[in-house]
């Protein structure tokens, strides 16, 4: 059986692209590079991932410029089509800026970059990523961001809760995110974003393997 094709979108300044590419391969799918300047045929892909980094140097706002890149037209098509799309860290920021995910990501309350392992709890089950994990599962993977504080207005938060769109929560809130939110999905459940980096928790020698539990959906 042919492997599932997973598109990995690269913007100038993306720096977790090769890490995610490798992790997708380890997860049993075939990773394929997608370039920010090019449109692509969204029907070709079983899933898309927008990796972390500092696209366009975080100029203007994190993710703001990447959200307007050419390739995002195809990403939007895929979102409408129902293709599973995952944004990790800067990828999450881009999906929020593109309004494919609700809310926004702003500067951490401590106003500094944080690199740390964090404990997460799976809340919602709308996305296929980590789909086999029961709600309430504990997941330990690292964060590395300065703009990771998830914000949304009260009615928006209520909507997220009502529609089961809160995907992951921090056990101990590192960055001041509202309701300790670490990851959300769109209303349809096919688009998901999280600030922590699952690709950095794939082997015991990295410090843990919980990242596999989120990405191994093709094996």
């Amino acid at each position: 059986m042919a492997k599932a094709k997973v598109g990995v979108v690269r913007f100038p300044g993306t720096n977790c692209d090769r890490d995610v590419f490798e992790a997708v391969g380890l997860s049993g799918a075939e990773p394929i590079w997608l370039w920010h300047e090019d449109l692509f045929d969204s029907a070709q892909f079983s899933a898309l991932i927008l990796p972390g980094g500092f696209s366009y140097g975080d100029y203007l706002r994190s993710g703001a410029l990447a959200a307007r890149a050419v390739a995002m037209k195809s990403v939007r098509e895929a979102a409408v089509r129902g293709t599973p799309i995952l944004g990790i860290c800067n990828g999450f920021q881009i999906l929020c800026e593109a309004r494919l995910l609700p809310g926004a990501l702003v500067r951490n309350t401590g106003r500094r970059f944080i690199d740390s392992w964090v404990d997460l709890k799976k809340v919602g089950s709308r996305t296929v990523f980590g789909g086999s994990l029961p709600s309430g599962s504990g997941i330990r993977i690292p964060i590395a961001h300065a703009d990771g504080r998830f914000v949304i207005d009260d009615s928006g938060l209520n909507e997220l809760r009502d529609r089961d769109q809160i995907w992951l929560e921090y056990q101990a809130n590192p960055n001041g995110s509202i309701a300790a939110i670490a990851g959300v999905t769109n209303e349809n459940g096919n688009v998901a974003g999280l600030m922590p980096h699952p690709e950095r928790a794939f082997h015991e020698w990295m410090g843990g393997t919980d990242g596999r539990r989120l990405l191994e959906i093709w094996s």
Partner: protein, 777 residues
């Protein structure tokens, strides 16, 4: 005023402006056979600066041990290259950015990281790790809190976006750095199998000289000569000579450069670092024995008013110079354009060894590049030979002898700026981008897993300034011995060394004497370990208002381990293990070392001499002991779970650090510890807990003493140097007095680890009131 006087005044002003002295002026005139003209002044100023020419140090650097079978490239290129076998090679180098970081901490630190990264990927190696060696003044010193904040933000602000993990570091505090901080950055890059090493030697008459990357601005003009001067009261005014970095540009430049090299589109390549276009072009031509015709008006500019001299001296960041075959230019241009960057031909390679610089068609100068690169003056600065009597250290006495005193000393050490947690610093660095980090800043050795072979590359920084204050020769030796032992304690074989020699004014005899003594110590240990020094830089004139820094030869030592599995941690991980002390006592100090604020004592407070050969033998046997054992040896399993080399604040501090991290307690037997250390019999037990003995290593293992000794002996170690001194147990740090008598004056220490952890964690925010973060317990 007569004409002669006026001429002389004009000359003096020129010399001052270009930071050249009269004898150098005479030397230039002699080499040219005439007076220097126009831009030539600027060329000589930059290329003959201490920073570029190494004119005070070269005579001593020549004798450095810099070759081994593994060394593919040593000094003379952008970085040294070491062969790891299996087709894998690493390039690495450490470099200083001290002066800019004191003036403008954020920008100084960012450009320090950017510059050292360019030295690595210029050679075709993808950067895989960064490490930072930082020396700050007392926390209460003027501007120090802001400087610490700016430097740390700067390192993260550059390293994080470019996507290179910062995996280890060292941070020191001492009053001698109050007005001259040290910011040394090391970068390591990997060549995978089949990837070519690129050099800067220009070749091929008719090939094009191509400028790539960011546009040239006015920033950093005269930077190299500024970095070669002592600071006075007016150092603030030097702000315009500071460069501004842009990590986004660097990230694009990394990808573009690695791609043009992978596609073999360039003949030679060099980054524009200190002295910018001047040093890169002159060095490339000089190494290749060729000439360049350079059209300065073709250089992409940020502002059109820049003059030829500015263009030659600008240290604008993120720029590269390449030699490209004409037929490949369009490919190079297209590839850079894809990454949003410009690549512009600004000249061509010529057969005659002459640099011709043009401006809008006019010839500005025609000059042999070697006059600037090879004929710089070489000074034999006066120094005095090293004598082992110069033992001056800043040492604090232990308050008293009782258990309460031991506990108080422990708490003081853990909460002092020198002894407290550095988490505030390293949590601001991305230590895991690249998905190859097997040990980060929490550990004493930073480890990157090499993707193709699965082997571990270990990186440790060295140089303990308190050892340098004690004795420059011992301190220089320790600057490699200590990190080599740290590597060996995790099963890594030390392979090679890079050094950054931070010293004061070399025109002062004591400074030059310490420089020579430190190099002799470095050289001895590197030869003994067969770990050559393959790259580095010298930073002189670390002096403000006549006061020099502690001589600080920082180092980066790189080691190799067969795998990254079963890597011993630096902290206790399991209860119920035996705690061993491995000893090679050569140098003893009395009192607790490393405090920041204590008065300077001048008495001979240390005795003994370090011996490189004996240390090297210990490194080898220790490495084999900790590498791991098992049916699929090496390193599929490991009876040794944790190791730590005992350093500042001695054994007591090291044990506390191992215990508090994962809240795994230790029960230390006082009698066994004393029996293991008969050489300290004259000290009180309290003092012996905090004095430094070089060298001691703590090991936590499930093995019995007999089993560990047998294994150590089988690896060539002396079994009698291993001692069982305690066990891991519970959540307290306990010292069992071994005496049933309640009247024992020193009593039994029994302290809760959480109390010690609070001290260790809160020390930083006590020292720096505005630099704290919320901890989650």
């Amino acid at each position: 005023m007569g004409q002669d006087q006026r001429d002389n005044k004009e000359l003096q002003e020129k010399l001052k402006h270009y930071r050249l002295n009269e004898s150098e002026h005479r030397r230039i005139a002699g080499l040219l056979g005439r007076e220097p003209q126009g831009v030539e002044w600027a060329l000589f100023s930059a290329m003959w600066s201490e920073h570029c020419s190494y004119k005070s140090s070269r005579v001593h650097l020549k004798g450095l041990f810099n070759k081994s079978e593994r060394v593919l490239q040593s000094f003379g290129e952008n970085a040294g290259v070491v062969d790891l076998g299996d087709g894998e090679r690493v390039a690495f180098k450490i470099e200083s950015h001290n002066h800019p970081s004191f003036i403008e901490p954020y920008q100084g630190a960012t450009t320090g990281v950017g510059g050292i990264l360019r030295d690595i990927f210029t050679m075709g190696a993808r950067p895989i790790a960064v490490a930072d060696y930082l020396c700050f003044g007392r926390p209460q010193a003027e501007r120090m809190e802001k400087i610490v904040d700016g430097v740390v933000r700067g390192i993260g602000g550059y390293g994080n976006p470019v996507g290179v993990p910062t995996i280890t570091g060292q941070t020191e505090f001492d009053p001698s750095y109050d007005k001259n901080v040290l910011v040394n950055a090391m970068a390591v890059g990997l060549f995978r199998k089949g990837e070519k090493v690129f050099l800067s030697k220009a070749k091929g008459v008719g090939n094009l000289v191509v400028y790539a990357g960011a546009k040239t601005g006015r920033d950093g003009v005269h930077g190299a000569s500024m970095a070669s001067e002592s600071f006075g009261k007016d150092s603030e005014k030097k702000r315009p000579t500071i460069q501004i970095g842009d990590p986004f540009f660097e990230k694009l430049l990394i990808e573009a450069c690695l791609e043009v090299m992978e596609q073999d589109l360039v003949v030679a390549i060099q980054d524009m670092g200190a002295a910018g276009l001047t040093s890169s072009s002159f060095e490339m031509a000089s190494k290749g024995g060729v000439g360049f015709n350079l059209h300065l008006d073709r250089v992409p500019l940020r502002e059109s008013t820049l003059q030829p001299e500015d263009i030659l001296l600008s240290e604008s960041q993120e720029r590269m110079l390449m030699v490209v075959e004409p037929a490949k230019l369009s490919n190079v241009e297209a590839l850079f354009k894809r990454w949003g960057l410009e690549a512009v031909a600004i000249g061509e390679v010529t057969a005659k060894k002459t640099m011709k610089l043009f401006w809008k068609g006019d010839l500005l100068t025609e000059i042999d590049p070697e006059l600037l690169t090879e004929h710089a003056p070489m000074y034999e600065r006066p120094f005095e030979p090293w004598t082992p009597s110069n033992r001056v250290a800043s040492v604090a006495d232990i308050a008293g002898e009782s258990a309460a005193d031991i506990r108080a000393s422990l708490r003081t050490a853990l909460s002092s700026p020198q002894g407290c947690s550095r988490e505030f610093i390293f949590r601001q660095y991305d230590g895991h981008v690249g998905a190859s980090t097997a040990a980060d800043c929490h550990e004493s050795v930073g480890v990157i897993r090499l993707k193709d072979s699965g082997r571990g590359l270990g990186i440790v920084l060295g140089c303990r300034p308190q050892m340098m204050r004690l004795d420059a020769r011992e301190g220089g030796l320790d600057a490699v011995a200590f990190p080599a032992l740290e590597l060996a304690a995790k099963g890594f074989e030390p392979l090679a060394v890079t050094d950054c020699l931070n010293f004061g004014n070399p025109e002062r005899v004591p400074v030059m004497s310490s420089f020579v003594a430190a190099l002799s110590g470095l050289n001895e240990i590197c030869e003994s370990l067969v770990a050559p020094i393959i790259s580095g830089n010298v930073s002189f004139y670390n002096e403000t208002e006549g006061r020099g820094i502690t001589p600080t030869p920082s180092t980066g030592v790189v080691g190799l381990r067969p795998t990254v599995t079963s890597l011993p941690k630096s902290d206790f991980v399991h209860e119920g293990e035996n705690v061993f002390l491995l000893r090679l006592p050569q140098l003893w100090t009395s009192g607790a070392m490393g405090e920041v604020t204590g008065p300077e004592s001048t008495g001979p407070r240390a005795f003994g001499t370090l011996n490189g050969k004996e240390i090297a033998a210990l490194v080898t046997s220790l490495r084999k002991l900790t590498e791991g054992v098992g049916p699929h040896s090496p390193a599929t399993e490991n009876t040794i779970s944790a190791t730590r080399v005992v350093g500042k604040f001695g054994l007591g501090y090291a044990l506390a650090r191992m215990a508090i991290s994962k809240n795994i307690g230790v029960r230390l037997s006082r009698s066994a510890t004393q029996a293991a250390r008969p050489d300290l019999a004259k000290m009180s037990f309290a003092e012996s807990l905090f004095c430094e003995v070089s060298y001691e290593v703590l090991i936590s293992s499930t093995e019995s003493l007999e089993a560990l000794r047998n294994r150590f002996a089988s690896h060539g170690g002396d079994p009698r140097s291993l001692h069982l001194i305690g066990t891991t147990h519970g959540h307290r740090f306990v010292i069992e007095s071994g005496s049933s008598s309640d009247t024992d004056p020193e009593g039994t220490l029994d302290v809760n680890l959480l109390e010690l952890k609070m001290d260790y964690d809160s020390g930083w925010s006590s020292a720096f009131k505005n630099l704290s973060f919320e901890r989650q317990y």
